[in-house]
Protein backbone atom coordinates (compact mmCIF):
# COMPACT_ATOMS: atom_id res chain seq x y z
CA UNK A 1 0.00 0.00 0.00
CA UNK A 2 1.02 3.54 -0.78
CA UNK A 3 1.36 6.11 1.97
CA UNK A 4 -1.03 9.03 2.13
CA UNK A 5 1.47 11.44 0.61
CA UNK A 6 2.45 9.81 -2.65
CA UNK A 7 5.86 10.91 -3.83
CA UNK A 8 7.01 7.93 -5.74
CA UNK A 9 5.86 6.05 -8.83
CA UNK A 10 5.79 2.25 -8.77
CA UNK A 11 5.27 -0.34 -11.50
CA UNK A 12 1.65 -0.94 -10.57
CA UNK A 13 0.89 2.74 -10.93
CA UNK A 14 2.61 2.86 -14.29
CA UNK A 15 0.45 -0.05 -15.43
CA UNK A 16 -2.68 1.75 -14.18
CA UNK A 17 -1.47 4.88 -15.96
CA UNK A 18 -1.33 3.05 -19.25
CA UNK A 19 -4.78 1.59 -18.65
CA UNK A 20 -6.15 5.07 -18.01
CA UNK A 21 -4.43 6.28 -21.18
CA UNK A 22 -6.18 3.62 -23.23
CA UNK A 23 -9.51 4.75 -21.78
CA UNK A 24 -8.92 8.48 -22.05
CA UNK A 25 -7.74 8.37 -25.68
CA UNK A 26 -10.74 6.26 -26.58
CA UNK A 27 -13.00 8.76 -24.85
CA UNK A 28 -11.38 11.83 -26.36
CA UNK A 29 -10.82 10.35 -29.81
CA UNK A 30 -13.33 12.57 -31.58
CA UNK A 31 -12.11 15.68 -29.79
CA UNK A 32 -8.50 15.05 -30.80
CA UNK A 33 -9.57 14.23 -34.34
CA UNK A 34 -11.65 17.38 -34.60
CA UNK A 35 -8.63 19.47 -33.62
CA UNK A 36 -6.52 17.59 -36.18
CA UNK A 37 -9.20 18.00 -38.86
CA UNK A 38 -8.99 21.77 -38.47
CA UNK A 39 -5.27 22.08 -39.10
CA UNK A 40 -4.06 18.58 -39.91
CA UNK A 41 -5.36 15.37 -41.39
CA UNK A 42 -7.99 14.22 -38.92
CA UNK A 43 -6.21 11.17 -37.55
CA UNK A 44 -4.68 12.16 -34.23
CA UNK A 45 -7.57 10.72 -32.19
CA UNK A 46 -7.49 7.44 -34.06
CA UNK A 47 -3.70 7.29 -33.84
CA UNK A 48 -3.57 7.76 -30.06
CA UNK A 49 -6.50 5.43 -29.43
CA UNK A 50 -5.01 2.73 -31.63
CA UNK A 51 -1.60 3.05 -29.97
CA UNK A 52 -2.74 2.93 -26.36
CA UNK A 53 -5.29 0.20 -27.03
CA UNK A 54 -2.34 -1.82 -28.30
CA UNK A 55 -0.35 -0.84 -25.19
CA UNK A 56 -3.25 -2.03 -23.04
CA UNK A 57 -3.09 -5.38 -24.80
CA UNK A 58 0.56 -5.71 -23.83
CA UNK A 59 0.13 -4.84 -20.13
CA UNK A 60 -0.45 -8.40 -18.96
CA UNK A 61 2.98 -9.31 -20.21
CA UNK A 62 4.59 -6.17 -18.75
CA UNK A 63 2.94 -5.73 -15.41
CA UNK A 64 5.47 -7.76 -13.40
CA UNK A 65 8.48 -6.05 -14.97
CA UNK A 66 10.49 -3.08 -13.77
CA UNK A 67 9.49 0.41 -14.87
CA UNK A 68 12.30 0.60 -17.45
CA UNK A 69 11.01 -2.54 -19.10
CA UNK A 70 7.42 -1.33 -19.00
CA UNK A 71 8.37 2.02 -20.55
CA UNK A 72 10.36 0.22 -23.22
CA UNK A 73 7.41 -2.06 -23.99
CA UNK A 74 5.12 0.96 -24.19
CA UNK A 75 7.62 2.74 -26.45
CA UNK A 76 7.98 -0.15 -28.86
CA UNK A 77 4.22 -0.67 -28.99
CA UNK A 78 3.56 3.00 -29.70
CA UNK A 79 6.26 3.11 -32.35
CA UNK A 80 4.89 0.06 -34.10
CA UNK A 81 1.18 0.88 -33.94
CA UNK A 82 0.62 4.64 -33.98
CA UNK A 83 2.37 5.81 -37.11
CA UNK A 84 2.06 9.46 -38.07
CA UNK A 85 4.11 12.06 -36.25
CA UNK A 86 2.82 11.29 -32.79
CA UNK A 87 3.90 7.62 -32.83
CA UNK A 88 7.65 8.17 -33.07
CA UNK A 89 7.41 11.21 -30.79
CA UNK A 90 5.59 9.61 -27.86
CA UNK A 91 7.45 6.39 -28.59
CA UNK A 92 10.79 8.15 -28.28
CA UNK A 93 9.58 9.86 -25.12
CA UNK A 94 8.99 6.51 -23.41
CA UNK A 95 12.10 4.96 -24.92
CA UNK A 96 14.34 7.64 -23.49
CA UNK A 97 12.44 7.69 -20.21
CA UNK A 98 13.08 3.96 -19.96
CA UNK A 99 16.87 4.32 -19.69
CA UNK A 100 16.77 5.95 -16.28
CA UNK A 101 14.20 3.50 -14.99
CA UNK A 102 15.97 0.32 -15.93
CA UNK A 103 15.79 -2.27 -13.18
CA UNK A 104 13.71 -0.03 -10.91
CA UNK A 105 10.24 -0.96 -9.69
CA UNK A 106 9.75 2.41 -8.08
CA UNK A 107 10.92 5.93 -8.94
CA UNK A 108 11.22 8.81 -6.51
CA UNK A 109 9.61 12.07 -7.50
CA UNK A 110 13.03 13.39 -8.42
CA UNK A 111 13.66 10.37 -10.59
CA UNK A 112 10.28 10.77 -12.28
CA UNK A 113 11.07 14.37 -13.13
CA UNK A 114 14.54 13.50 -14.44
CA UNK A 115 13.24 10.55 -16.38
CA UNK A 116 10.47 12.45 -18.07
CA UNK A 117 12.93 15.23 -18.84
CA UNK A 118 15.12 12.67 -20.60
CA UNK A 119 12.06 11.47 -22.48
CA UNK A 120 11.21 15.00 -23.55
CA UNK A 121 14.78 15.61 -24.66
CA UNK A 122 14.54 12.53 -26.89
CA UNK A 123 11.18 13.63 -28.24
CA UNK A 124 12.48 17.08 -29.04
CA UNK A 125 15.58 15.84 -30.77
CA UNK A 126 13.44 13.46 -32.81
CA UNK A 127 10.94 16.16 -33.85
CA UNK A 128 13.35 19.09 -33.89
CA UNK A 129 10.61 21.38 -32.61
CA UNK A 130 11.10 24.02 -29.93
CA UNK A 131 8.56 25.94 -27.87
CA UNK A 132 6.46 28.31 -29.96
CA UNK A 133 6.12 26.18 -33.09
CA UNK A 134 2.62 24.91 -32.24
CA UNK A 135 3.39 21.31 -31.35
CA UNK A 136 3.01 19.08 -28.31
CA UNK A 137 6.32 20.55 -27.20
CA UNK A 138 4.40 23.67 -26.19
CA UNK A 139 2.49 21.64 -23.62
CA UNK A 140 5.25 19.28 -22.55
CA UNK A 141 8.06 21.75 -21.90
CA UNK A 142 6.22 23.86 -19.30
CA UNK A 143 4.55 20.75 -17.88
CA UNK A 144 7.74 18.86 -17.22
CA UNK A 145 9.27 22.01 -15.87
CA UNK A 146 6.42 22.24 -13.37
CA UNK A 147 6.96 18.61 -12.42
CA UNK A 148 10.25 19.35 -10.68
CA UNK A 149 9.91 18.86 -6.92
CA UNK A 150 9.45 21.84 -4.63
CA UNK A 151 9.50 21.96 -0.81
CA UNK A 152 6.92 19.67 0.87
CA UNK A 153 5.94 18.34 -2.51
CA UNK A 154 3.99 15.25 -3.43
CA UNK A 155 3.88 13.65 -6.84
CA UNK A 156 0.15 14.36 -6.94
CA UNK A 157 0.71 18.05 -6.30
CA UNK A 158 3.49 18.17 -8.84
CA UNK A 159 1.25 16.53 -11.39
CA UNK A 160 -1.49 19.05 -10.71
CA UNK A 161 1.01 21.79 -11.46
CA UNK A 162 2.20 19.99 -14.57
CA UNK A 163 -1.33 19.50 -15.86
CA UNK A 164 -2.15 23.15 -15.29
CA UNK A 165 1.04 24.18 -17.07
CA UNK A 166 0.33 21.80 -19.92
CA UNK A 167 -3.19 23.19 -20.33
CA UNK A 168 -1.81 26.69 -20.35
CA UNK A 169 0.80 25.66 -22.89
CA UNK A 170 -1.90 24.05 -24.99
CA UNK A 171 -4.00 27.20 -24.88
CA UNK A 172 -0.98 29.22 -25.89
CA UNK A 173 -0.86 27.34 -29.20
CA UNK A 174 -4.26 28.65 -30.30
CA UNK A 175 -3.06 31.93 -31.80
CA UNK A 176 0.23 30.46 -33.04
CA UNK A 177 1.12 29.95 -36.69
CA UNK A 178 2.48 26.40 -36.92
CA UNK A 179 6.11 25.99 -37.88
CA UNK A 180 6.37 22.23 -37.54
CA UNK A 181 4.24 19.24 -38.48
CA UNK A 182 1.39 19.04 -40.88
CA UNK A 183 -0.28 22.22 -39.61
CA UNK A 184 2.64 24.26 -40.91
CA UNK A 185 1.40 23.67 -44.50
CA UNK A 186 -1.52 25.92 -43.70
CA UNK A 187 0.67 28.93 -42.97
CA UNK A 188 -1.39 31.76 -41.46
CA UNK A 189 -4.52 29.63 -41.64
CA UNK A 190 -3.18 27.43 -38.84
CA UNK A 191 -3.76 30.24 -36.34
CA UNK A 192 -6.96 30.10 -34.29
CA UNK A 193 -6.87 26.39 -33.44
CA UNK A 194 -5.29 24.43 -30.59
CA UNK A 195 -2.58 21.97 -31.55
CA UNK A 196 -4.02 18.46 -31.22
CA UNK A 197 -0.78 17.01 -29.85
CA UNK A 198 -0.94 19.46 -26.96
CA UNK A 199 -4.30 18.06 -25.95
CA UNK A 200 -3.02 14.49 -26.14
CA UNK A 201 -0.11 15.52 -23.91
CA UNK A 202 -2.47 17.04 -21.36
CA UNK A 203 -4.50 13.82 -21.40
CA UNK A 204 -1.34 11.78 -20.89
CA UNK A 205 -0.51 13.68 -17.70
CA UNK A 206 -4.11 13.62 -16.47
CA UNK A 207 -4.16 9.86 -16.89
CA UNK A 208 -1.08 9.60 -14.70
CA UNK A 209 -2.67 11.77 -12.04
CA UNK A 210 -5.75 9.55 -12.12
CA UNK A 211 -3.57 6.47 -11.78
CA UNK A 212 -1.93 7.63 -8.57
CA UNK A 213 -3.17 5.75 -5.51
CA UNK A 214 -5.83 7.98 -3.98
CA UNK A 215 -4.58 9.63 -0.82
Amino acid sequence: METMTVNSLDSATVVRWMQHCAETYQQHKDELTALDAAIGDADHGANMARGFTAVQGKLDGLKDKDIGAIFKGVAMTLISTVGGASGPLYGTFFLQAASGANGKTSLTQEEVAADFAAGLKGLMSRGKAVVGEKTMVDALVPALDALKPVANDTLAAALDRAIAAARKGADSTVPMVAKKGRASYLGERSAGHMDPGCLSSVLLLEALKQALPSG
Binding site: A42, P88, G91, G127, R182
Partner: protein, 333 residues
Amino acid sequence: MKKLINSPENVVHEALEGMVAAHADLIKVQFDPTFIMRADAPVKNKVAIISGGGSGHEPMHGGFVGRGMLDAACPGAVFTSPTPDQMQAATKAVDSGKGTLLIVKNYTGDVMNFELAADLVRADGGQVESVIIDDDVAVKDSTWTAGRRGVGATILAEKICGAAAEAGQSLAEVRDLCQKVNAQGRSMGMALTSCTVPHVGKPTFDLPEDEIEFGVGIHGEPGRTRMKLKPADEIVEMLMEPIISDLPYKSGDEVLLFVNGLGGTPQIELYIIYRKALEVAKRAGLKVTRNLVGSYITSLEMAGTSITLLKLDHQLTPLWDAPVLTSALRWGL
Protein backbone atom coordinates in the same frame (compact mmCIF):
# COMPACT_ATOMS: atom_id res chain seq x y z
CA MET B 1 -20.58 8.91 -44.60
CA LYS B 2 -21.20 6.89 -47.73
CA LYS B 3 -18.48 4.44 -48.55
CA LEU B 4 -18.26 0.93 -49.91
CA ILE B 5 -16.63 -0.39 -46.77
CA ASN B 6 -17.52 -2.76 -43.94
CA SER B 7 -15.98 -0.91 -41.02
CA PRO B 8 -13.45 1.90 -40.79
CA GLU B 9 -11.05 -0.35 -38.84
CA ASN B 10 -10.89 -2.97 -41.59
CA VAL B 11 -10.57 -0.74 -44.65
CA VAL B 12 -6.85 -1.15 -45.20
CA HIS B 13 -6.70 -4.82 -44.31
CA GLU B 14 -9.63 -5.83 -46.52
CA ALA B 15 -8.45 -3.70 -49.40
CA LEU B 16 -5.04 -5.38 -49.24
CA GLU B 17 -6.70 -8.79 -49.23
CA GLY B 18 -8.64 -7.82 -52.33
CA MET B 19 -5.59 -6.31 -53.94
CA VAL B 20 -3.38 -9.35 -53.53
CA ALA B 21 -6.18 -11.61 -54.72
CA ALA B 22 -6.53 -9.50 -57.85
CA HIS B 23 -2.80 -9.25 -58.58
CA ALA B 24 -1.27 -12.46 -57.28
CA ASP B 25 0.90 -12.59 -60.40
CA LEU B 26 2.56 -9.31 -59.44
CA ILE B 27 2.55 -8.99 -55.67
CA LYS B 28 2.49 -10.71 -52.30
CA VAL B 29 1.09 -9.14 -49.14
CA GLN B 30 2.30 -9.74 -45.59
CA PHE B 31 0.35 -8.68 -42.51
CA ASP B 32 1.61 -7.69 -39.04
CA PRO B 33 3.78 -5.93 -39.91
CA THR B 34 2.03 -5.08 -43.14
CA PHE B 35 3.70 -4.62 -46.50
CA ILE B 36 3.21 -5.35 -50.18
CA MET B 37 6.12 -6.89 -52.05
CA ARG B 38 7.01 -8.00 -55.55
CA ALA B 39 5.97 -11.60 -56.10
CA ASP B 40 9.53 -12.39 -57.19
CA ALA B 41 11.42 -10.47 -54.47
CA PRO B 42 14.20 -10.42 -53.47
CA VAL B 43 15.55 -9.80 -56.95
CA LYS B 44 19.19 -10.84 -57.21
CA ASN B 45 21.76 -8.16 -57.87
CA LYS B 46 19.28 -5.34 -57.74
CA VAL B 47 19.02 -2.46 -55.31
CA ALA B 48 15.68 -2.76 -53.54
CA ILE B 49 13.34 0.22 -53.58
CA ILE B 50 10.77 0.68 -50.87
CA SER B 51 8.25 3.40 -50.38
CA GLY B 52 5.26 3.79 -48.15
CA GLY B 53 2.88 6.20 -46.56
CA GLY B 54 -0.63 6.46 -45.31
CA SER B 55 -3.36 4.56 -47.13
CA GLY B 56 -6.08 6.40 -49.04
CA HIS B 57 -3.75 7.49 -51.87
CA GLU B 58 -4.27 4.44 -54.06
CA PRO B 59 -2.90 3.29 -56.41
CA MET B 60 0.12 4.87 -54.64
CA HIS B 61 2.15 3.03 -53.41
CA GLY B 62 0.95 -0.58 -53.62
CA GLY B 63 -0.09 -0.15 -57.23
CA PHE B 64 3.53 0.60 -58.12
CA VAL B 65 5.03 -2.57 -56.71
CA GLY B 66 6.41 -4.79 -59.44
CA ARG B 67 9.06 -5.13 -62.04
CA GLY B 68 10.74 -1.85 -62.93
CA MET B 69 9.36 0.11 -59.99
CA LEU B 70 9.00 -0.69 -56.27
CA ASP B 71 10.13 -3.85 -54.51
CA ALA B 72 7.87 -3.15 -51.57
CA ALA B 73 5.33 -0.64 -50.29
CA CYS B 74 4.38 -0.11 -46.65
CA PRO B 75 0.81 1.15 -46.20
CA GLY B 76 -0.14 2.88 -42.96
CA ALA B 77 -3.65 3.48 -41.68
CA VAL B 78 -5.65 5.89 -43.82
CA PHE B 79 -3.65 9.14 -44.07
CA THR B 80 -1.27 7.95 -41.33
CA SER B 81 2.34 7.11 -42.00
CA PRO B 82 3.35 3.47 -41.61
CA THR B 83 5.37 2.35 -38.61
CA PRO B 84 9.09 1.52 -38.65
CA ASP B 85 8.57 -2.20 -38.11
CA GLN B 86 6.77 -2.35 -41.45
CA MET B 87 9.71 -0.87 -43.33
CA GLN B 88 12.11 -3.02 -41.34
CA ALA B 89 10.26 -6.21 -42.23
CA ALA B 90 9.83 -5.14 -45.85
CA THR B 91 13.54 -4.43 -46.16
CA LYS B 92 14.35 -7.82 -44.73
CA ALA B 93 12.05 -9.43 -47.29
CA VAL B 94 13.22 -7.63 -50.43
CA ASP B 95 16.87 -6.66 -49.91
CA SER B 96 18.97 -8.97 -52.07
CA GLY B 97 22.19 -7.74 -50.47
CA LYS B 98 22.69 -4.77 -52.77
CA GLY B 99 21.06 -2.37 -50.32
CA THR B 100 17.73 -0.60 -50.08
CA LEU B 101 16.54 2.85 -51.03
CA LEU B 102 13.68 4.27 -49.00
CA ILE B 103 11.64 6.86 -50.89
CA VAL B 104 9.92 9.03 -48.31
CA LYS B 105 7.40 11.80 -48.81
CA ASN B 106 8.17 14.85 -46.70
CA TYR B 107 5.65 14.67 -43.90
CA THR B 108 6.92 14.86 -40.33
CA GLY B 109 5.35 11.51 -39.48
CA ASP B 110 6.66 9.73 -42.55
CA VAL B 111 10.11 11.20 -42.14
CA MET B 112 10.41 10.18 -38.49
CA ASN B 113 9.00 6.69 -39.01
CA PHE B 114 11.26 6.03 -41.98
CA GLU B 115 14.20 7.44 -40.01
CA LEU B 116 13.50 5.00 -37.20
CA ALA B 117 13.17 2.23 -39.76
CA ALA B 118 16.52 3.07 -41.34
CA ASP B 119 18.09 2.99 -37.86
CA LEU B 120 16.60 -0.44 -37.24
CA VAL B 121 17.78 -1.78 -40.59
CA ARG B 122 21.28 -0.44 -40.05
CA ALA B 123 21.33 -1.94 -36.57
CA ASP B 124 20.59 -5.28 -38.27
CA GLY B 125 23.59 -4.71 -40.54
CA GLY B 126 21.53 -3.71 -43.58
CA GLN B 127 22.60 -1.07 -46.07
CA VAL B 128 19.96 1.60 -46.48
CA GLU B 129 19.61 5.09 -47.93
CA SER B 130 16.67 7.47 -47.73
CA VAL B 131 15.54 10.21 -50.06
CA ILE B 132 12.91 12.68 -49.00
CA ILE B 133 10.61 13.95 -51.73
CA ASP B 134 9.42 17.55 -51.30
CA ASP B 135 8.01 18.84 -54.57
CA ASP B 136 4.90 20.72 -53.48
CA VAL B 137 5.31 24.39 -54.33
CA ALA B 138 2.08 25.20 -52.50
CA VAL B 139 4.12 25.10 -49.31
CA LYS B 140 6.73 27.69 -48.55
CA ASP B 141 10.10 26.06 -48.18
CA SER B 142 12.19 27.09 -45.22
CA THR B 143 14.57 25.44 -42.83
CA TRP B 144 12.36 26.77 -40.05
CA THR B 145 9.34 24.75 -41.10
CA ALA B 146 8.48 21.18 -41.97
CA GLY B 147 9.35 22.14 -45.56
CA ARG B 148 7.49 21.26 -48.71
CA ARG B 149 5.27 18.21 -48.90
CA GLY B 150 6.02 15.27 -51.12
CA VAL B 151 3.34 14.72 -53.75
CA GLY B 152 3.31 13.88 -57.48
CA ALA B 153 7.07 13.69 -58.00
CA THR B 154 7.10 10.67 -55.69
CA ILE B 155 5.60 8.46 -58.38
CA LEU B 156 7.96 9.76 -61.02
CA ALA B 157 10.91 9.10 -58.70
CA GLU B 158 9.67 5.59 -57.99
CA LYS B 159 9.36 4.82 -61.70
CA ILE B 160 12.70 6.28 -62.68
CA CYS B 161 14.65 4.83 -59.76
CA GLY B 162 12.94 1.49 -60.30
CA ALA B 163 14.24 1.44 -63.84
CA ALA B 164 17.73 2.39 -62.70
CA ALA B 165 17.75 -0.32 -60.06
CA GLU B 166 16.53 -2.82 -62.64
CA ALA B 167 19.45 -1.76 -64.85
CA GLY B 168 21.88 -2.68 -62.09
CA GLN B 169 22.80 0.72 -60.71
CA SER B 170 24.32 0.86 -57.24
CA LEU B 171 22.55 2.09 -54.12
CA ALA B 172 24.48 5.36 -54.20
CA GLU B 173 23.61 5.88 -57.86
CA VAL B 174 19.94 5.19 -57.36
CA ARG B 175 19.87 7.47 -54.31
CA ASP B 176 21.51 10.30 -56.26
CA LEU B 177 19.10 9.77 -59.12
CA CYS B 178 16.17 9.99 -56.71
CA GLN B 179 17.51 13.27 -55.35
CA LYS B 180 17.86 14.55 -58.88
CA VAL B 181 14.26 13.69 -59.77
CA ASN B 182 13.15 15.43 -56.61
CA ALA B 183 15.27 18.48 -57.41
CA GLN B 184 13.83 18.67 -60.93
CA GLY B 185 10.18 18.05 -60.06
CA ARG B 186 7.55 20.54 -58.90
CA SER B 187 3.87 20.07 -58.09
CA MET B 188 0.77 22.00 -57.09
CA GLY B 189 -2.77 20.83 -56.32
CA MET B 190 -6.30 22.07 -55.69
CA ALA B 191 -9.54 20.55 -54.46
CA LEU B 192 -13.18 20.98 -55.41
CA THR B 193 -14.39 18.90 -52.48
CA SER B 194 -13.09 17.54 -49.22
CA CYS B 195 -12.68 13.85 -48.55
CA THR B 196 -14.06 11.83 -45.68
CA VAL B 197 -11.64 9.80 -43.59
CA PRO B 198 -13.43 6.50 -42.79
CA HIS B 199 -12.88 6.56 -39.04
CA VAL B 200 -13.95 10.20 -38.85
CA GLY B 201 -17.15 9.74 -40.78
CA LYS B 202 -17.57 13.30 -41.99
CA PRO B 203 -15.74 15.53 -44.48
CA THR B 204 -12.44 16.88 -43.17
CA PHE B 205 -13.40 20.37 -44.29
CA ASP B 206 -16.58 22.04 -45.43
CA LEU B 207 -16.43 23.74 -48.77
CA PRO B 208 -19.38 25.79 -50.05
CA GLU B 209 -20.85 24.84 -53.45
CA ASP B 210 -19.01 27.71 -55.18
CA GLU B 211 -15.60 27.56 -53.51
CA ILE B 212 -12.38 25.62 -53.99
CA GLU B 213 -9.29 25.02 -51.87
CA PHE B 214 -6.03 25.98 -53.52
CA GLY B 215 -2.67 24.48 -52.68
CA VAL B 216 -3.96 21.33 -51.00
CA GLY B 217 -1.95 18.27 -50.16
CA ILE B 218 -3.17 14.71 -50.34
CA HIS B 219 -4.51 14.22 -46.82
CA GLY B 220 -7.64 16.32 -46.87
CA GLU B 221 -5.72 19.05 -45.12
CA PRO B 222 -7.05 22.47 -46.09
CA GLY B 223 -5.01 24.29 -48.71
CA ARG B 224 -3.25 27.61 -48.55
CA THR B 225 -6.23 29.65 -49.66
CA ARG B 226 -9.88 29.28 -50.36
CA MET B 227 -11.37 30.99 -53.39
CA LYS B 228 -14.36 31.07 -55.71
CA LEU B 229 -14.70 28.31 -58.28
CA LYS B 230 -13.14 29.28 -61.60
CA PRO B 231 -13.13 27.85 -65.12
CA ALA B 232 -10.68 24.97 -65.57
CA ASP B 233 -8.36 27.03 -67.76
CA GLU B 234 -7.92 29.68 -65.07
CA ILE B 235 -7.30 27.02 -62.45
CA VAL B 236 -4.62 25.48 -64.63
CA GLU B 237 -2.93 28.85 -65.10
CA MET B 238 -2.91 29.29 -61.33
CA LEU B 239 -1.44 25.83 -60.78
CA MET B 240 1.19 26.14 -63.48
CA GLU B 241 2.42 29.63 -62.61
CA PRO B 242 4.08 28.77 -59.26
CA ILE B 243 5.43 25.51 -60.70
CA ILE B 244 7.09 27.13 -63.66
CA SER B 245 8.28 30.24 -61.88
CA ASP B 246 9.94 28.09 -59.23
CA LEU B 247 13.19 26.37 -60.07
CA PRO B 248 14.46 24.71 -62.27
CA TYR B 249 12.75 25.12 -65.64
CA LYS B 250 13.88 27.27 -68.50
CA SER B 251 12.72 27.79 -72.04
CA GLY B 252 13.73 24.90 -74.25
CA ASP B 253 13.67 22.32 -71.46
CA GLU B 254 12.12 18.95 -72.09
CA VAL B 255 9.60 18.06 -69.41
CA LEU B 256 7.23 15.36 -68.32
CA LEU B 257 3.74 16.73 -67.62
CA PHE B 258 1.79 14.73 -65.07
CA VAL B 259 -1.86 15.64 -64.59
CA ASN B 260 -3.20 13.79 -61.60
CA GLY B 261 -6.74 13.29 -60.34
CA LEU B 262 -7.27 13.34 -56.59
CA GLY B 263 -9.75 10.46 -56.63
CA GLY B 264 -13.20 11.83 -57.37
CA THR B 265 -12.41 13.66 -60.58
CA PRO B 266 -13.50 11.98 -63.81
CA GLN B 267 -10.97 11.39 -66.53
CA ILE B 268 -12.83 13.65 -68.95
CA GLU B 269 -11.93 16.58 -66.68
CA LEU B 270 -8.29 15.48 -66.38
CA TYR B 271 -7.95 15.67 -70.15
CA ILE B 272 -9.42 19.18 -70.11
CA ILE B 273 -6.77 20.07 -67.51
CA TYR B 274 -4.04 18.38 -69.54
CA ARG B 275 -4.99 20.29 -72.68
CA LYS B 276 -4.59 23.65 -70.96
CA ALA B 277 -1.49 22.65 -68.95
CA LEU B 278 0.17 21.66 -72.20
CA GLU B 279 -0.67 25.04 -73.69
CA VAL B 280 0.74 26.88 -70.67
CA ALA B 281 3.89 24.75 -70.74
CA LYS B 282 4.37 25.47 -74.43
CA ARG B 283 3.87 29.18 -73.87
CA ALA B 284 6.72 29.01 -71.34
CA GLY B 285 8.90 27.40 -73.97
CA LEU B 286 8.83 23.96 -72.39
CA LYS B 287 8.75 20.88 -74.60
CA VAL B 288 6.41 18.29 -73.14
CA THR B 289 7.99 15.09 -74.38
CA ARG B 290 6.39 12.68 -71.90
CA ASN B 291 3.15 12.72 -69.95
CA LEU B 292 1.00 10.89 -67.47
CA VAL B 293 -2.71 11.59 -67.08
CA GLY B 294 -4.79 9.78 -64.50
CA SER B 295 -5.60 9.36 -60.82
CA TYR B 296 -2.34 7.97 -59.46
CA ILE B 297 -1.84 9.79 -56.17
CA THR B 298 -5.20 10.37 -54.59
CA SER B 299 -6.87 11.64 -51.50
CA LEU B 300 -9.68 9.13 -51.11
CA GLU B 301 -12.71 10.43 -53.05
CA MET B 302 -11.61 14.06 -53.12
CA ALA B 303 -12.45 15.87 -56.36
CA GLY B 304 -9.56 17.92 -57.58
CA THR B 305 -6.34 17.78 -59.47
CA SER B 306 -2.63 18.26 -59.10
CA ILE B 307 -0.08 19.04 -61.76
CA THR B 308 3.54 17.90 -61.65
CA LEU B 309 6.31 18.97 -63.99
CA LEU B 310 9.57 17.07 -64.15
CA LYS B 311 12.50 18.35 -66.13
CA LEU B 312 13.78 15.50 -68.29
CA ASP B 313 17.16 14.90 -69.85
CA HIS B 314 19.14 12.17 -71.57
CA GLN B 315 19.44 10.29 -68.30
CA LEU B 316 15.84 10.51 -67.11
CA THR B 317 13.87 10.02 -70.32
CA PRO B 318 15.10 6.49 -71.11
CA LEU B 319 14.56 5.49 -67.48
CA TRP B 320 11.00 6.77 -67.69
CA ASP B 321 10.51 4.82 -70.91
CA ALA B 322 12.00 1.60 -69.51
CA PRO B 323 9.57 -1.29 -69.04
CA VAL B 324 7.37 -1.35 -65.96
CA LEU B 325 4.95 -4.03 -64.84
CA THR B 326 2.82 -3.07 -61.86
CA SER B 327 -0.92 -3.08 -61.30
CA ALA B 328 -1.18 0.67 -61.86
CA LEU B 329 1.52 1.42 -64.42
CA ARG B 330 2.65 -0.92 -67.12
CA TRP B 331 4.35 -0.61 -70.40
CA GLY B 332 7.05 -2.31 -72.39
CA LEU B 333 6.26 -5.72 -70.86
